[in-house]
């Protein structure tokens, strides 16, 4: 009985034999990732309209929107990304896709940045740039009535509205 107990630890030999080799010779063999794995995100430049919904929802601020005089810049910095995929969930035009790419190490920090520049379209009245052309198309698709005022910048719209109201008062 006690001998049987003493010999118990040797059972591990048969367990080990049965389990065999379980490690993979990565990178020579394929890594063990499943179909659901979330990796780096890919932004489709032909769909993105620069609305900034993704930057708004991004928990670590890996996606950021910078507005300059003439353009809207969407910057994706992989170094901060936590690969949660919230941006893909909220993107209204489905421009963001979560890929399963994870081999992201690099010796050049510029490789970690993806920059997307959207040129802004000018206002018909004052010429001030205010909207990306793709955003304009998208708004028109959803609200066809917007055609009447979409080419004016918010300032000019406000001015026109005030003018109309004050004209009526008189």
């Amino acid at each position: 009985m006690s001998l049987k107990k003493l010999l118990k630890p040797f059972k591990l030999l048969s367990i080990a034999k049965k389990a065999g080799v379980v490690t993979v010779l990565y990178p020579y063999q394929k890594p063990l990732i499943t179909s659901e794995f979330r990796g780096k995100i890919v932004i489709d430049a032909s769909k993105c309209m620069g609305c900034g919904a993704c930057a708004n929802v991004c928990p670590p601020n890996a996606l950021s929107i910078t507005e300059t005089e003439e353009s809207v810049i969407l910057n994706y910095f992989v170094g901060r990304c936590i690969f949660c995929g919230m941006c893909a969930d909220v993107c209204p035009v489905g421009a963001i896709r979560v890929s399963n790419e994870f081999e992201l190490a690099t010796t050049n920090i510029d490789n970690l940045n993806t920059v997307l520049v959207h040129k802004l379209k000018g206002c018909v009245d004052c010429g001030k740039p205010f909207i990306t052309s793709r955003m304009l198309e998208n708004v028109l698709k959803k609200v066809p009535f917007a055609e009447k005022y979409i080419n004016e910048c918010p300032d000019c719209r406000r001015k026109r509205f005030i003018n109309i109201v004050s004209a009526r008062k008189r």
Partner: protein, 556 residues
């Protein structure tokens, strides 16, 4: 069943009647508990009554700077009456200019750390005890309390010394190395005072990696839905526990009804996480005792769980599928089948491995009778998780304060009364099998339906408590809601409650047992650490890693 409900009601009424003597105001808030508002002068009496006579455990304390709201500092002491599943929250306020609250750490020993933390971070003076710097680094300026609302979240008062670059730096990429070795575990620090081979006293010097997460969550760059991702990063092993705790605290405060299917999915992921964590710990315990074969095989089994969690959530760790109001990822038939297959594999392989481990002489002999935590001390310190259950306390949040889908399943809570390292090992082994059992029931019962709540509106200024039984004990989050983000978010990880118990476990024990004992509480700082051994006879300090001590078993 009806009787017990009646009885609970009667007990509650009795309790309220007695508490009325002390309190200014008593309010029962559904899903949160009994809020007892007292003047700070009466805090000690009430605490003694609640802790000793009502026999409730101390769960957490949240100190809050409420000066912008009502011009006071507030402290919320959360006691839990396990048998009734009731939280008793003692709320007290103090003067904004000279905040002082009488200390209760002599009556409730578990409150010791909480008071020190509140003093460090909010500057609330606890009278009748010694206060010293506990969390903040030594070079932090005096009189600057980071959790106060008038301190910016991104304030950096200490200018770190610039590192000198070498004069002729060679071209090419540069890799910073240190101050901590990247391969070593998290920086936690124990000072063990020894006489020869015997440990005489223990001092803990921690919080080297205090990241100010609570303050960050209050900052304008966070919203209610961003904090779950931050909460998940509190711990590398049990991240989902914290994200569920946080979302639960907000949902309970705002009275959001989470769809049942989402609750089931949360429970499934929580149990999968427990499986991987326990398998990890059992492996580490084997490794610490020099039985590396057991370590390898335990982690071989664990790998299947990791792949499973990736399939279920999209990531091996930090799953990122939890939000206030529900979950982001549904599970389908294929995934349920995948879980079933993995469970079958784990059950088979793990029972074989356990049979071997339980008969390896070096494990059984080294774990038996070492690191004993007597039941009385465990009760006094309100320890949680396997540490409590190994010392004969029948505490499990899943049973006592039911949450998510746990009310719908039946399971046993393993309790051992020996209080030694072996008892804690057996608790965890039993829990692996219980987890498999729970998962099978959950998969069998999971209902159809939506996975996200329809309406999410969080009112301002309400308190909510979220608790989850993490693999290493109870994690509890207290959230006071604010505008768009938490006004105050108080996190308490299980290790916070368990480390003070180490002092009792290590005292008068041989030094060679210290590493296993420290690891036996499954501290959240992965597993083992660097220690400083001070020989009281010679006064010499020797720095050693735990592994060195184990190998040598002798300190010169």
């Amino acid at each position: 069943m009806a009787d017990s409900v009646e009885e609970t009601k009667r007990n509650l009424e009795e309790m309220v009647n007695v508490l009325k003597k002390y309190a200014d105001n008593i309010e029962f808030v559904e899903r949160v508990g009994l809020i007892v508002r007292v003047k700070k002068e009466r805090l000690r009496e009430v605490s003694r009554f609640v802790h000793d006579i009502l026999d409730s455990y101390f769960r957490t304390m949240a100190a809050v700077d409420e000066r912008p709201i009502n011009n006071t500092f507030a402290a919320y002491y959360v006691f839990g009456k396990d048998e009734m599943g009731l939280n008793i929250i003692i709320e007290t306020h103090t003067d904004p200019l000279d905040p002082e609250i009488p200390s209760i750490s002599d009556l409730v020993p578990a409150a010791d750390w909480y008071e020190l933390e509140a003093w460090d971070l909010l500057g609330i003076k606890f009278t009748g005890r010694r206060l010293y710097r506990f969390i903040l680094p030594d070079e932090w300026p005096e009189g600057l309390y980071p959790l106060r609302k008038d301190v910016d979240y991104n304030l950096r008062p200490v200018k770190p010394l610039a590192r000198k670059a070498s004069k002729q730096a060679p071209a090419g990429p540069r890799i910073p190395f240190g101050p901590y070795h990247p391969a070593l575990h998290e920086p936690e620090y124990f000072e063990l005072f020894v006489e020869g081979e015997k440990v005489v006293d223990v001092r803990y010097n921690g919080f080297h990696v205090h990241r100010g997460i609570e303050k960050l969550a209050e900052s304008p760059r966070f919203t209610y839905q961003k904090v779950p991702f931050l909460a998940e990063r509190i711990c590398g092993i049990c991240g989902f526990v914290h994200s569920v705790s946080y979302t639960m605290s907000v949902e309970r405060a705002a009275k959001i009804d989470v769809p049942e299917r989402a609750e089931y999915i949360r429970s499934i992921i929580l149990e999968v996480e427990r499986l991987h964590s326990h398998l990890l710990w059992i492996g580490v315990a084997c490794h610490l005792l020099g039985y590396d074969a057991g370590f390898m095989h335990s982690w071989r089994i664990r790998e299947k769980v990791m792949v499973l969690s990736e399939l279920l959530t999209g990531s091996r760790k930090t799953y990122g599928i939890n939000l206030v109001g529900g979950v982001r990822k549904d599970i389908n038939k294929d995934k349920i089948q995948a879980i079933m297959n993995t469970l079958k594999y784990i059950k088979e392989e793990f029972s074989k491995l356990v049979e071997v481990i339980a008969h390896v002489p070096q494990i059984v002999k080294r774990a038996t009778g070492t690191g004993i935590l007597p039941r009385d001390d465990a009760r006094k310190l309100s320890v949680v998780g396997p540490v409590a259950r190994g010392s004969g306390l029948n505490r499990d949040v899943r049973k006592d304060y039911p949450y998510a889908a746990y009310p719908y399943v039946s399971f046993k809570v393993p309790v051992y009364s020996e209080g030694d390292n072996l008892a804690r090992l057996f608790v965890r082994i039993d829990e692996v099998f219980e987890s498999i059992n729970i998962l099978e029931q959950l998969l069998d019962k999971i209902p159809q339906g939506p996975i996200f709540a329809e309406k999410i509106e969080v009112p301002e200024g309400v308190i909510g408590i979220g608790n989850v039984e993490a693999p290493r004990g109870e994690a509890i989050h207290v959230t006071i809601t604010g505008k768009g983000r938490p006004y105050r978010w108080r996190v308490r990880a299980p290790t916070y409650q368990n480390i003070p118990a180490l002092k009792i476990m290590l005292k008068d024990a041989p030094l060679a047992d210290a590493p296993l004992t420290i690891a036996s509480i499954d501290p959240c700082f992965s597993c083992t650490d660097r220690l400083l051994v001070i020989d009281l006879k010679t006064g010499k300090a020797v720095k050693k890693t735990m592994e060195e001590i184990i190998k040598k078993k002798k300190v010169n």
